[in-house]
């Protein structure tokens, strides 16, 4: 079974978010980059577990420059067998999706794993785009994936609940919390990852359809009004009459 895991690089979760003065670019000064947590903790780990249980091969694919090699090696140390890096700046979701779909159509896969979203753009755009390009089913926000005979049994998160469903390969799946537990690679795995293949390929061209004009920070809160803990009537009156939210 061929399992492809799409990994993305994001600022770490506690990074201070700021932009260049003209608002044109993200200010990466002093920012640490990590593998997008949904891609790592849930998508990649579940793919590796799946291979351990059912056999097969796990490939990770990443669109990015050589500065990403450190997170690709991490993915290999977590248990992927090989990696492909498309050597380009991931300029838009369409660009990234096209690279992944291009690889997957030349190297057919049974299951393509995505994280449910990246923690920077929060778009959930890549999975639907890639699966549409390949014309295969897409299971979004999955918290469970198991083999069930020749088919696969998944659970996906929906508003206020979960839905269990069956699907046949090939398909794409985006992993949410619950899919797997984070894995910390040991020293042996880290050493072994250095000998695993990392293939660097050049991108296919894509014409952009949207562009970002400006970044800004949201207006902050004007300051907290403290309420006497003995006087909850005051708080209720403020929420009701001033804020009109109760």
């Amino acid at each position: 079974m061929k399992l492809l895991v799409c990994i993305s690089r994001t600022p770490e979760t506690t990074a201070k978010i700021s932009f260049t003065e003209d608002g044109k670019q993200f200010n990466s000064d002093g920012v640490q980059y990590i593998m997008n947590p949904y891609d790592e903790w849930y998508a990649l780990v579940r793919a590796v577990e799946f291979k351990e249980q059912n056999g097969g091969e796990v490939t990770v694919i990443h669109v990015g420059e050589s500065s990403s090699d450190i997170i690709i090696r991490k993915a290999l140390s977590i248990g992927a067998d090989k990696a492909v890096r498309v050597n380009a700046n991931p300029s838009s979701s369409l660009f990234v999706a096209k690279q992944i779909a291009n690889y997957a159509s030349e190297n057919p896969q049974d299951i393509i794993f995505f994280g449910k979203e990246t923690i920077d753009y929060n778009g959930s755009e890549i999975g639907p785009m890639v699966t549409e390009m390949l014309d295969i089913p897409y299971i979004s926000f999955a918290s469970k994936l198991d083999k069930d005979g020749d088919a696969f049994l998944c659970e996906r998160d929906i508003e206020g609940g979960v839905q269990a469903l069956k699907v046949n390969a090939p398909f794409g799946i985006s992993a949410a919390k619950g899919m797997a537990e984070q894995r910390i690679p040991n020293m042996k795995a880290i050493m072994m990852s250095k000998r695993k293949p990392l293939e660097v390929v050049e991108p296919v061209e894509v014409e952009a359809k949207v562009s970002i004009d400006q970044y800004e920070l949201p207006a902050g809160k004007s300051g907290v009004k403290l309420i006497d803990p003995e006087n909850m009537d005051e708080l209720v009156q403020l929420l009701k009459d001033v804020e009109k939210v109760l």
Partner: protein, 319 residues
């Protein structure tokens, strides 16, 4: 040329987020000088209500039966329909269904895509629209140059107003292809508003000390008609179900009122809730970082304050 809104339903009832999307579509269509069409899939009981919020025409696919969501199948049907009526902007909710469809439709229609938009586009010079990113810690403005555009609207970004558009309901001749998914079971929490759609949220964290203490939180939520949520450590410890976890790696929400009880306010938690309109923080530690992000703060023991707040709300409701 028109605006097309995919109006989601759950078990045959139009979702709140669908009314928001239709109203957004109505306002955008008015600015573009065109009509707002809505499309629904499956049998929907209150489908004509979409007209109230701005749909001039409501198209129903497969109106005879309940249909389980399949993004591949829906993308084909809605994509074909959008082409047939020459829709130039397709609007979805930024929900589990909308998010799965947005990217697919953008590819199918060769369209530009911006997800999680939070305001009406500015169409005075080109087509510019803003979205929130970094879980609400930043905002970006996009220019969309493509002829066809797909947008997904984040929840609770605008309040749908009654405009009483024509709202003519017409069966669509588009047929759904056979789905490659088989839904085995759907499990939902009955009787509460799902977190992404909730206007009032009561959330609690480690300050509760023990899962057995949640009674006061549930009572407060019940009095208010609010949905309960929790912080990550509490969900990780299995004190509360995972679907209640709000924050950067949980559900991102933007209710009208968010009451945080015994939650210190780590940056990852704030990222998922800082778009709430009003934030109330109850914590015994005056140094808790959450107070900096709050509108109202109560420094006190939550085991005293929460029951008192509950009584005060009951009194206000009765009066």
């Amino acid at each position: 040329m028109s605006v097309l809104v995919f109006a989601e339903n759950f078990k045959g009832t139009v979702k709140k987020s669908a009314f928001e999307a239709v109203h957004y579509g109505h306002k955008l269509a008015a600015e573009m000088g065109t009509d707002c069409h809505a499309i629904t899939v499956g049998s929907v009981s209150n489908v004509s209500d979409l007209g109230k919020y701005g749909a001039s025409k409501i198209h129903q696919i497969a109106s005879a039966s309940t249909v389980d969501f399949d993004s591949q199948q829906f993308s084909k049907a809605i994509g074909t329909f959008a082409k047939n009526i020459g829709a130039k902007v397709i609007i979805l909710s930024h929900s589990s269904q909308g998010k799965s469809l947005a990217g697919r439709l953008a590819i199918r229609l060769d369209a530009g895509l911006v997800t999680a938009v939070n305001q009406l586009p500015d169409v005075s010079d080109g087509f510019k629209v803003t979205k929130s990113l970094f879980s609400g810690k930043a905002i970006s403005t996009y220019s969309m140059d493509s002829e066809v555009k797909v947008l997904s609207l984040i929840g609770n970004a605008l309040a749908p107003e009654v405009v009483n558009a024509a709202g003519e309901v017409v069966p669509s001749d588009i047929e759904l292809e056979a789905s490659k998914l088989t839904v085995v079971e759907t499990k939902t929490v009955e009787g509460t508003v799902p977190l992404p759609e909730a206007e009032l949220v009561v959330s609690a964290g480690r300050g509760m000390k023990d899962p057995g203490n949640w009674g006061i939180i549930e009572e407060l939520a019940e009095t208010m008609g609010a949905t309960t949520a929790c912080s990550r450590p509490v969900a990780d410890a299995d004190w509360r179900p995972h679907h209640e976890h709000v924050g950067q790696t949980g559900v991102a929400i933007r209710p009208n009122l968010y009451i945080a009880i015994g939650i210190s306010g780590a940056i990852q938690h704030l990222a998922g809730v800082n778009n709430s309109k009003v934030i109330v923080v109850i914590n015994k530690d005056p140094e808790a970082p959450f107070f900096k992000a709050a509108d109202y703060g109560v420094v006190g023991d939550l085991f005293d304050v929460v029951p008192r707040l509950n009584e005060a709300i009951k009194k206000a409701k009765a009066g």
